[in-house]
């Protein structure tokens, strides 16, 4: 290709060979300025958000860690039992996974409770924000065409890119980790809420309208109930994604199972890292089964036993 470069240079079209310096959108400095502006002008607002999330997180964390492990164990197992509609096999699986976490290393139980509380807060935030957004974009096509690319962006952007500004805004600790987790984990619940509502049979919507239901009645009486299996699937996906952020979150000061993995790797203690890794997987199975069980129960009820 050398001859082509030379040729272009000779005819004075050097700009076509090397990217011209002037042809540049200074996105870099814009964003830096924007973040700086956010910190200086709205630092207090972020601090307020940060504090309120911290308070909730602390309360949940203290409850989960303060509870004797045996009580927690029976509580979660009982939850699985009732939510799944008294399915013995699934309950046993949950119990075994849960028990194994402590069995691998007693210290991991406590770490698992810390991780669980971070996940709970992140998941609750995802649900509280994600379901309304999902409902909104299911009703508004134009808004949807704006939000969907944003969701793609949130899922594909490497998480470190927004983790660092999050630290700048919220300070070190659990809150920026939760913020990053919400960004990464919220798309499924939005997408599946939107999808679920759109999949509701249009004939049913027509019947609802024809009987004189107003919008709220239609939403609460028909659309959300019939879309619920999909919405729950979204919540399940969201919890799984949230759990997958645990290790990354631990890098910015969240404690829990992720920290164990990180410490194990730093000390070249592969055993310790692997133990914590297995505990994460076990916790994931427990969360997955419990969040899926309810959706499955609903589906069974809707499609006939």
């Amino acid at each position: 290709m050398e001859w082509l470069r030379n040729l272009l240079h000779e005819i004075g079209a050097g700009w076509a060979v090397e990217w011209p310096k002037a042809l540049n959108v200074p996105l870099n400095s814009w964003i830096n300025d924007f973040v700086e502006w956010l910190i200086t002008e709205h630092g207090q607002a972020f601090e307020a958000v940060s504090n309120s999330i911290s308070v909730v997180l602390l309360a949940i964390e203290q409850t989960l860690r303060g509870m004797p492990w045996l009580v927690m164990f029976f509580f979660i197992t009982a939850l699985a039992w009732f939510i799944s509609g008294r399915r013995l096999g699934m309950t046993i699986l949950v119990a075994v996974c849960l028990f194994s976490i402590g069995l691998i290393d007693p210290q991991l139980w406590d770490n698992a409770m810390v991780t669980l509380s971070v996940m709970l807060v992140a998941t609750i935030l995802c649900i509280v924000i994600g379901i309304p957004v999902g409902l909104l974009i299911s009703a508004q096509d134009r808004l949807r065409s704006l939000v969907i690319p944003l969701l793609d962006l949130m899922q594909t952007m490497p998480s470190f890119v927004y983790l660092i500004p999050a630290i700048m805004l919220f300070g070190l600790g659990a809150v920026p980790a939760i913020f990053a987790t919400v960004i990464y984990a919220i798309p499924p619940v939005i997408r599946l809420t939107d999808l679920g509502i759109r999949l509701v049979d249009s004939g049913l919507g027509e019947a609802c309208d024809a009987m004189g239901a107003n919008r709220i009645q239609k939403l609460l009486g028909l659309q959300i109930p019939t879309a619920l299996p999909n919405i729950l699937q979204g919540i399940n996906q969201t919890t799984m994604l949230a759990l997958s952020m645990v290790v990354i979150a631990s890098m910015i000061g969240t404690r829990g199972l992720g920290t164990e993995v990180l410490l194990g790797l730093q000390q070249l203690n592969v055993g310790r890292a692997l133990e914590a890794g297995i505990a994460i997987v076990l916790l994931a199975i427990v969360m997955d089964r419990i969040t899926q069980a309810y959706g499955r129960k609903l589906l069974r009820a809707q499609r006939g036993r």
Binding site: L204, A207, A210, M211, G212, A213, G221, P225, T226, G304
Partner: protein, 355 residues
């Protein structure tokens, strides 16, 4: 009224409950341009190729009298389902008016429309459209629920209607646990539960087996005897239309081909299209004595001992009498006065479609 009383056109003089006036419905982006074309009488195909718009309905006007079953008949794509959805405004017309009891449905604001749908008009759907996540009785009572009726009242009314459609004891089932026919009976009970004046039925029996369809038609007629709703009934089945309809409108490509009583349609098809349709109809089951008789001046009480039939007897039911007697059959009205007579030839002629 003398001799002319043999011609009955009372139905046309009754007050219309629903008036549909010059409805146009055009689907597509450049609807206003297509509307101008449609108004100037261009054909559906021409408008489609010029503007890319589909003409759903073209200048449709109909009057539905209080308490009658009005059947809109047409093949798929004729616009019949689109038409019925204009009455409760599930679809907005491109132009035209829909009046119910003289009130313009299209001028209602959102809240008025909701109230109108809650109190005046309800609908039965081809695919039943029962809510899958709630029980049968909750489905039936849904219309009352959106009105804010208390639960005991909802339950009582729903169970009452389930009983009337013969589904006693199924109230706690989920819709999918019932057969198609039973599901549509739930749909019917749901539509009737709010005690509406108008029942819109969009091909309600088309998805059912012939035998079940027959049962449902009979049940509908029995219910109509008791409750006298105004029913707009959509079907693609001419036999069903002739059986149920007090009046029938035949729709083709969004245009009304003919409106009339079943006998008018069979005896005097207004277009080749309608003639084609009615050719295979069992005329003996549709045509009544009145439609085929030779009218005569009304004559009270002079029919002692003579063979007579009431004016709404269908040919099928007077055949054996006609064959048995060598003289003419007298046709009598509700009070027993003779209003016409039928020769055997007339019966035979009526049974054979004119070419």
């Amino acid at each position: 009224m003398g001799a002319s009383s043999c011609e009955r056109n009372g139905a046309d003089e009754e007050l219309s409950l629903i008036e549909i006036r010059n409805i146009y419905k055009i689907f597509g982006k450049s609807a206003s341009r297509a509307f101008t074309l449609a108004r100037s009488g261009q054909s559906k195909q021409r408008i489609l190729s010029e503007t890319g718009c589909t003409v759903g309905l073209q200048d449709v006007s109909l009057n539905v009298a209080d308490g009658e079953i009005f059947v809109v008949m047409g093949l798929s794509g004729s616009g019949k389902s689109t038409l019925i959805r204009h009455i409760n405004r599930l679809i907005e017309p491109t132009a035209g008016q829909v009046l119910v009891r003289g009130r313009d449905v299209l001028s209602l604001n959102r809240q008025e429309l909701v109230n109108f749908r809650r109190s005046t008009v309800s609908m039965v759907f081809q695919r039943f459209a029962l809510f899958p996540h709630i029980t049968v009785w909750e489905n039936v009572a849904y219309g009352l629920k959106v009105q804010g009726a208390p639960r005991p009242k909802r339950m009582e009314r729903a169970l009452g209607w389930l009983d009337k459609v013969g589904l006693n004891g199924f109230e706690r089932q989920l819709p999918r646990q019932l057969s198609g026919g039973m599901q549509q009976r739930v749909g019917l009970a749901r539509a009737l539960c709010t005690d509406p004046d108008i029942l819109l039925m969009d091909e309600p029996f088309s998805a059912l087996d012939p035998l079940i369809r027959n049962q449902m038609q009979k049940q509908l007629m029995a219910l109509q005897q008791d409750f006298h709703k105004t029913i707009v009934f959509i079907t693609h089945d001419l036999d069903e239309a002739l059986l149920l309809g007090d009046h029938i409108a035949i729709l083709k490509d969004g245009l009304v081909e003919q409106v009339g009583r079943p006998q008018d349609i069979v005896l005097r098809p207004a277009s080749p299209y309608v003639r084609e349709f009615v050719r295979d109809v069992n005329r003996g089951r549709v045509l009544t004595a009145e439609a085929i008789m030779t009218p005569c001046p009304r004559n009270k009480g002079d029919n002692r001992g003579e063979a007579s039939v009431t004016r709404d007897t269908v040919i099928e039911d007077l055949l054996h009498q006609s064959v048995a007697t060598d003289r003419v059959l007298k046709v009598v009205d509700d009070t027993g006065g003779v209003i016409g007579e039928i020769h055997r030839d007339a019966v035979l002629k009526a049974l054979v479609a004119r070419p």
